[in-house]
C-alpha cells in the first residue's frame, strides 16, 4: 500500500534546508510547523484574555505602566472600549480557529495519522504543504487588522451582521472586519486541504492488517473530525464570502431594508440577519466537535496506556464518536433559541441536542470503566488526561441546562455560557493537547520532557482552570451579559465585583503557569534525555518507528498489524502490553498468577 517506493526512501538523497524544514512535504515537519505556529498564537490569544480580565476585574482603573507598554489598546492606562471588543473578538477567533483547530488537526493530525496507521506519509504531501503555508498568511492578515483604522474586528467571533456588515456600525466594523473575513477564508481553505488529505490517508494508506475496527481511537477522532470539517467549513466559507460581498460589493444577503445606523439610512434591502446565524452555526456547532473529537480519541489512548488496561467498550467508543459527529450537524439552532427563529424549531433543536448527552455519557463512563481495576501510572500525560475527564464532565453537564430553550432564555449570552464552553470545549481541548504533547513529545523530538515540571504545570493549570471558570457560572446566575465592557452600572449585577476580581487573579495565575510548560518544552527540545523508541510501553504503531522517525518513517518494510490497539495486560503473557505489530504471541506458559513483575520484565 506504500505510495512511495521503499527504494526512494533509501535513495539517501539529501534534501536542502529549505525543502527539509521550511517548504517541507514531510507530514512530521508540517505537523511540527503547525504545532509551533499554534503555540505562538496561543500565547497571543491568552494575552488578549488577560486584557479582558484586567478590564472586568478593575473597570475604570488606570494602569499607567501598561498604558506605556500598549499605547494602542490602553491609551490612558485603561483598556479602551474599542480594544476591549477587539480583544473579546480576537481571543475567541484566535483560540478556536488559529490555536485549537490548527493544533489538533494540523499539528497532532499531521504528525500522528501516518505514523499511527503505518504509512510513509500523507496521501497528498504537496497539498499538505500548501495547507500549512496558507496558515501564516492568514495570521498576518488577521494580526494586521490590529493596526488599521478602527482597529481589529469587534463584533465577536460570531461576527453577527448587521454589526459586522455595516462599516459605520462600530469602529471594528471597518477594514478590521474585512481583514477578519479574508483571514478566516484563507484558513478555511487550509483546513479543507488538510481534511481531504486526512480522510484519503486513513482510507487508503493503512498498514496491512489494520482494519478500520483496529484503528486506535486517536485516529478515529481525527478521521471523523476531518469528515466534519470537510462538510461544515465550506458553509462558513460561503457565508464569509457573502458577507464580504455585502460589505464591499453592495449585495444584501444579511442586511434588511430600512436600517438607520447613527440616524443615517443604510443602502441595503432584502437581506436577513438570521441567515448568517444559520450559516455560521451550521459550521459553528460541528466546529465545537472538531475541537473535542480528536481530544476524545487522544485521551482514550493515553488513558489506556497509563492504566495498562484496554480501553473499555471500544466499539461503543467508535460508535459514540460517529453518533456525536452525525448529531453535531443537527443542533446548530440551539445557539438561536432567542434569535427570533420559529419556536417549533427550538423544540426540534432541543431534542437533538439532548440526544448528544447519551453518547457523551457513554464515553465518560467507558473512560471510568477503563480505570476500574487498572494499574495507573501518574505521568504528566495521564494527569492531563484525567483532568480532561473532569473538565469535560463539568462543562458537558451545564450543556444540559443550556439545551433547554425555556431555561436558555435566561442564560443565553450570559457568563453561564462563557463558563460552559470554556470547560467543555476550550479547557478540555487544551488539556488533551497538553496530554498529547507530554505523551508524543518523545516521538516528535526524540527527547523526554521533564516530568517534575510537567506535574507542577498540571497542578497549577488544573486548579487555575477551576478557579477561573467555575465562578463564572455564578456571574451567569446573576445574569451578567457576555462582551460587556463593565457590569458596574446594572442593578442586578451589584455585588459581583469581588467575584470578578477573584476570576481575574486566577486567570493571571493560569496564564503565568503556562510559561512553565513553554520552558519545559523548549528546554527539553535541546536538553531533554534521549527518548527510547517506546518509552511509555505502548501498543500502537507510531512507537515501532525510531524516535524521532526518519523521513518516510519506516525502513525497508512497512509494519504489519496483528491485532487491535489495546492489548494491555493481556492474560497469559509476561509483558503487560502487546504491540499491534508484534508477531502472534507465543504462549509463555505462565498463568495469570505470574503478575507483579509483568510490566517490568524488559
Amino acid at each position: 500500500m506504500a505510495h512511495v517506493a521503499p527504494a526512494e526512501a533509501h535513495a539517501g538523497h539529501e534534501l536542502s534546508f529549505w525543502r527539509k524544514y521550511i517548504f517541507s512535504q514531510d507530514h512530521k515537519v508540517i505537523g511540527i510547523q503547525y504545532a509551533f505556529t499554534s503555540m505562538f498564537m496561543a500565547v497571543l490569544g491568552g494575552l488578549l484574555a488577560m486584557f479582558i480580565r484586567l478590564q472586568l476585574g478593575w473597570p475604570g482603573r488606570s494602569w499607567p505602566i501598561l498604558g506605556n507598554l500598549f499605547p494602542g489598546g490602553m491609551p490612558d492606562g485603561q483598556v479602551s472600549q474599542a480594544f476591549y471588543l477587539a480583544a473579546v473578538t480576537m481571543h475567541g477567533t484566535i483560540m478556536i480557529f488559529f490555536v485549537l483547530t490548527t493544533l489538533l488537526t494540523g499539528g497532532f493530525g499531521n504528525f500522528l495519522i501516518p505514523l499511527m496507521i503505518g504509512a510513509r506519509d500523507m496521501a497528498f504531501p504537496f497539498l499538505n504543504m500548501l495547507s500549512y503555508w496558507l496558515y501564516p498568511p492568514a495570521i498576518i492578515v488577521l494580526l494586521a487588522s490590529f493596526f488599521v483604522s478602527g482597529g481589529a474586528a469587534g463584533g465577536g467571533w460570531t461576527a453577527y451582521p448587521p454589526l459586522s456588515a455595516v462599516p459605520q456600525a462600530a469602529p471594528g466594523s471597518g477594514l478590521g472586519q474585512t481583514l477578519w473575513l479574508i483571514s478566516l477564508a484563507l484558513l478555511i481553505v487550509a483546513f479543507l486541504f488538510g481534511s481531504l488529505n486526512y480522510i484519503t490517508t486513513v482510507l487508503q494508506l493503512r498498514a496491512r492488517g489494520l482494519s478500520m475496527l483496529r484503528l486506535p481511537l486517536t485516529i478515529w477522532g481525527l478521521f471523523v473530525t476531518a469528515i466534519l470539517s470537510l462538510l461544515a467549513f465550506p458553509v462558513l466559507l460561503a457565508a464569509a464570502i457573502m458577507l464580504l460581498f455585502d460589505r464591499l460589493g453592495g449585495t444584501s444577503f444579511f442586511v434588511p431594508a430600512g436600517l438607520l445606523v447613527g440616524s443615517v439610512p443604510v443602502d441595503h434591502a432584502g437581506g436577513n440577519p438570521l441567515l448568517w446565524q444559520h450559516l455560521f452555526w451550521f459550521l459553528g456547532h460541528p466546529e465545537v466537535y472538531v475541537l473535542i473529537l480528536p481530544p476524545m480519541g487522544m485521551i482514550s489512548d493515553i488513558l489506556a496506556n497509563n492504566a495498562r488496561k484496554p480501553i473499555f467498550g471500544y466499539r461503543f467508543m467508535v460508535g459514540s464518536i460517529v453518533a456525536i459527529a452525525f448529531l453535531s450537524f443537527l443542533v446548530w439552532g440551539h445557539h438561536m433559541y432567542t434569535s427570533g427563529m420559529h419556536p417549533l424549531l427550538g423544540t426540534a433543536f432541543m431534542t437533538t441536542t439532548l440526544v448528544i448527552a447519551v453518547p457523551s455519557a457513554i464515553k465518560t463512563f467507558n473512560w471510568l470503566a477503563t480505570l476500574w481495576r487498572a494499574r495507573i501510572r501518574f505521568t504528566s500525560a495521564m494527569l492531563f488526561a484525567l483532568g480532561f475527564l473532569s473538565l469535560f464532565v463539568t462543562g458537558g453537564l451545564t450543556g444540559i441546562v443550556l439545551a433547554q430553550p425555556p431555561v436558555d432564555i435566561y442564560f443565553q449570552d450570559t457568563f453561564f455560557v462563557v463558563a460552559h464552553f470554556h470547560f467543555v470545549m476550550a479547557s478540555a481541548a487544551i488539556f488533551a493537547s497538553f496530554a498529547g504533547t507530554y505523551y508524543w513529545f518523545p516521538k516528535m523530538f526524540g527527547r523526554m520532557m521533564n516530568e517534575r515540571l510537567g506535574k507542577w504545570h498540571f497542578w497549577l493549570t488544573f486548579v487555575g482552570i477551576y478557579a477561573t471558570f467555575f465562578p463564572m457560572h455564578y456571574a451567569g446566575f446573576m445574569g451578567m451579559m457576555r462582551r460587556i465592557y463593565s457590569p458596574q452600572i446594572y442593578a442586578h449585577l451589584q455585588g459581583l465585583q469581588p467575584l470578578n476580581v477573584f476570576v481575574s487573579i486566577a486567570a493571571f495565575v493560569l496564564f503565568a503557569a503556562q510559561f512553565i510548560f513553554l520552558y519545559n518544552f523548549f528546554r527539553s527540545l535541546f536538553r531533554g534525555p534521549q527518548a527510547e523508541r517506546n518509552p511509555w510501553r505502548a501498543t500502537t504503531l507510531e512507537w515501532e518507528a525510531p524516535s524521532p522517525p526518519p523521513h518516510l518513517n519506516w525502513g525497508e518494510t512497512l509494519p504489519t498489524v496483528q491485532r487491535w490497539a489495546y492489548d494491555y495486560s493481556p492474560p497469559d503473557m509476561a509483558e503487560d502490553f502487546q504491540p499491534q505489530a508484534a508477531p502472534a504471541a507465543v504462549p509463555t506458559g505462565r498463568s495469570r498468577e505470574g503478575r507483579g513483575d509483568g510490566g517490568h520484565a524488559r
Partner: protein, 278 residues
C-alpha cells in the same frame, strides 16, 4: 518490580489527585450554597419566570448528582487502582453495563425534553386576549417604547420618515393610526410601564443592528432583529422598578444600553397613561 521511588511517587500523585477531586466536589457544593445568598438569580417578578426557575433548579439537581457521581468515582479509582505493582485486569467489554449507562441517560434526557418542550410551547403560545400590547425598539445604544393610541392600533412605520428629534419612530404621517401613538424613550426620560398580574405582549424591533431585550427579573430575553418584529409575552407579578439590559453585542457602547421598566397596579397605570397622553 517497581522501585520504591516510583511507588512513592505514584502514591503521592494518586493521593493528591484523589484529594483534589474530593475537594472539588466539596468546593462546588459549598460555593453553590454560598452563592445562593449573594450570586444567584435576581428576585423573580413574572409568572413564566417561576416555571423557568423550577425547571432550572430540577436540571441543576440532576447535573449535580452526575457531577458528584463522576468525580467521586474518579477520585476513588485513581486512589484504589494506582500502580502498586499489581496487574491490570484484561476487562474491556460488558454489554449490560454499557447499555445501563446508555439507557439511564436516555430516560433522563427524554424526561427533560418533554418537560422543557411543554414549558417552551406555553411560553410561546398566543398571548391571552386581555394582554397589554407594547412595542419596544432597540437602537445604538438605548431602548424606546411605543404604546398604541386610544384606537388600540399601532401606526405604520417607514424608515424614510425618520427624524431623530421629531419622528424617532419613523411613523408614517399618512397613516391615521400613527397619529395618536405614544412614543417614549425608556433609557433616559421615560419608563416602560406595565400592569401587575396582567399579561403583556412585547413586540420587539431594531433600528440598526441586533440587540436583545433582556429583563433579568422577568426571565425574559428576546433578540431585536432588524427587518423583523419578534415578540414575547409574560405576566409581571410584582410591582416596582426593573432594569432592561441589552444581551446581544451591538457596538462600542453595548455595555451601557439599558432601559427602565416599572410595574404598577392597573389604577396607577391608567392614571399615568391618561396624564402622559394629555
Amino acid at each position: 518490580m517497581p522501585t520504591n521511588d516510583t511507588t512513592s511517587g505514584t502514591r503521592r500523585s494518586a493521593a493528591l489527585l484523589g484529594i483534589a477531586l474530593a475537594l472539588l466536589i466539596v468546593a462546588a457544593v459549598v460555593t453553590t450554597l454560598a452563592a445562593r445568598s449573594r450570586w444567584w438569580l435576581p428576585p423573580l417578578a413574572s409568572a413564566q419566570g417561576r416555571s423557568i426557575d423550577q425547571l432550572f433548579i430540577a436540571t441543576f439537581g440532576i447535573i449535580s448528582v452526575a457531577f458528584v457521581l463522576v468525580h467521586g468515582l474518579l477520585a476513588l479509582f485513581v486512589w484504589l487502582y494506582r500502580d502498586r505493582g499489581q496487574r491490570a485486569s484484561y476487562w474491556h467489554e460488558n454489554r449490560a453495563l454499557e447499555l445501563t449507562y446508555t439507557i439511564i441517560p436516555a430516560i433522563v434526557m427524554t424526561g427533560l425534553t418533554l418537560s422543557a418542550a411543554g414549558l417552551w410551547s406555553r411560553i410561546h403560545s398566543a398571548p391571552p386576549p386581555q394582554a397589554l400590547v407594547v412595542e419596544v425598539r432597540g437602537e445604538q445604544f438605548g431602548w424606546k417604547a411605543r404604546y398604541p393610541g386610544p384606537d388600540g392600533k399601532f401606526g405604520r412605520i417607514d424608515a424614510r420618515h425618520y427624524n431623530a428629534r421629531e419622528n424617532p419612530w419613523a411613523l408614517d404621517p399618512a397613516d391615521p393610526a400613527a397619529q395618536d401613538d405614544l412614543v417614549l424613550d425608556i433609557s433616559t426620560t421615560g419608563e416602560l410601564h406595565l400592569v401587575v398580574d396582567r399579561p403583556v405582549e412585547v413586540r420587539i424591533r431594531s433600528k440598526d443592528v441586533l440587540h436583545s431585550f433582556f429583563v433579568p427579573a422577568f426571565r425574559v430575553k428576546q433578540d431585536a432583529v432588524p427587518g423583523m418584529v419578534t415578540s414575547i409575552w409574560f405576566t409581571p407579578t410584582k410591582t416596582g422598578p426593573y432594569e432592561i439590559a441589552c444581551a446581544e453585542l451591538c457596538g462600542l457602547l453595548h455595555y451601557i444600553m439599558r432601559g427602565k421598566v416599572v410595574v404598577q397596579t392597573q389604577e396607577e397605570y391608567d392614571a399615568w397613561l391618561a396624564q402622559t397622553r394629555s
